[in-house]
Symmetry: C2
Subunit: 194 residues, 2 copies
DNA sequence: AGCTTAGTTGGACGGCGTACAGTTCGCAAG
DNA sequence: CTTGCGAACTGTACGCCGTCCAACTAAGCT
């Protein structure tokens, strides 16, 4: 801090979020502290509070930002179930790209930011095209979200006792896929369609 | 602390774990700190370290302890799928009884303690009787565990935006049940049986 | 030119987990 | 019955954490 009080440091909400993102990638959740963030931006810790309400809000923002990477299938995709499958797989992959973030994600159970809401809307639209409305649709929505985040959390956790993690990741990917197909089959079974 | 150094306080690993359990129930995860725990046991914070290696280990122990409450179906239950269903539902209910614990549970992804291992073995045995072996069985195991813990995490999280949480809990319980049935149906579909 | 206001700093508060050294007791061996 | 030892416990301290407050300064508007 070779700056005297009052001198601007060029801080922005965007710059703060970006730095937070980097810290998260480098040192995991434990590495992301207000002080470390300030250090990286060459600023006093308190300066952050002019751009972010607090740590919780910052985490929420970062979490939601990550969801922007999810590939949303075209709304007019031929088969809505295929679209849902692709959407959930993409979400799963994105989550795997930010392992330390997943537990947080789950603790807040599913970010409530703009991106999260958008994904939810897309899913509801696809479910609608698959024949599910209202309560049924919300039910299916919960199940799919929970399953995906839960599986990501499970996958990104510390390796249980297997020797090398490489085939494990692939194995988990397949497990995820299997379960997802079962769920989708159940969701769109004839008895479910209103 | 009206005790001078060296005087025994009658601490035991069991007493410590029990107090931790109580604190967890009363104040959630945030309420469980080494210092608060020591305060409740009328002891200096460091005294705990004679009975527990550290906070992480303590949490692991408490987490695994909770799993003891899960009702394990009789091994010779008529239908293994029904047994699995009952087992997962009991697990879900137990988890709901300790809301603040669930995120931790997921972060460590499924306790690795004695009780957790036992439950895993029971599930594998039931899956075996349902016709699943080896890789298939492990696959199904992952899916079921992830689904259950994930759903519990989702349910115990802060209410999204619904007005009153009472019907929500019931709703979620039904959602859980629906998804679970779909999963079990998929797992035991003819194509899966070796 | 002067005033307002937003951005930033130094410092502090209360809390956390836990390491280190010292004190004191219970208990087994002599 | 003494002695010695190891385990339990305390006091103190270190280095973190998130966040609030008052002071200060620079930029921008009038």
């Amino acid at each position: 801090m070779d700056r005297r009080p009052g001198q601007r440091a060029g801080l922005t909400r965007e710059r703060v979020l970006a730095a937070a993102h980097e810290l998260l990638g480098a040192g995991g959740v434990d590495g992301l502290t207000m002080r470390a963030l300030a250090r990286r931006l060459e600023v006093a810790p308190n300066a952050l509070y002019s751009h972010v309400p607090g740590k919780t809000a910052l985490l929420d923002a970062v979490i939601d930002e990550v969801l922007a990477q999810v590939e949303v299938p075209a709304m007019d995709v031929a088969d809505p179930v295929t679209g849902l499958h692709a959407l959930m797989c993409s979400t799963y992959d994105v989550l795997l790209g930010h392992p330390d973030l997943v537990p947080l994600y789950l603790a807040r159970n599913g970010a409530r930011g703009a991106n999260a809401r958008h994904l939810g809307d897309v899913m509801l639209a696809l479910l609608d095209r698959a024949g599910l409305r209202e309560a049924r649709a919300r039910e299916a929505l919960s199940v799919l979200i929970v399953y995906t985040i839960g599986f990501a959390a499970f996958t990104t956790g510390p390796p249980i006792d297997v020797p090398d993690p490489e085939p494990r990741a692939e194995q988990m990917r397949e497990n995820f896929d299997s379960g997802l197909r079962w769920l989708l089959a159940g969701i769109t079974a004839p008895s479910m369609r209103a």
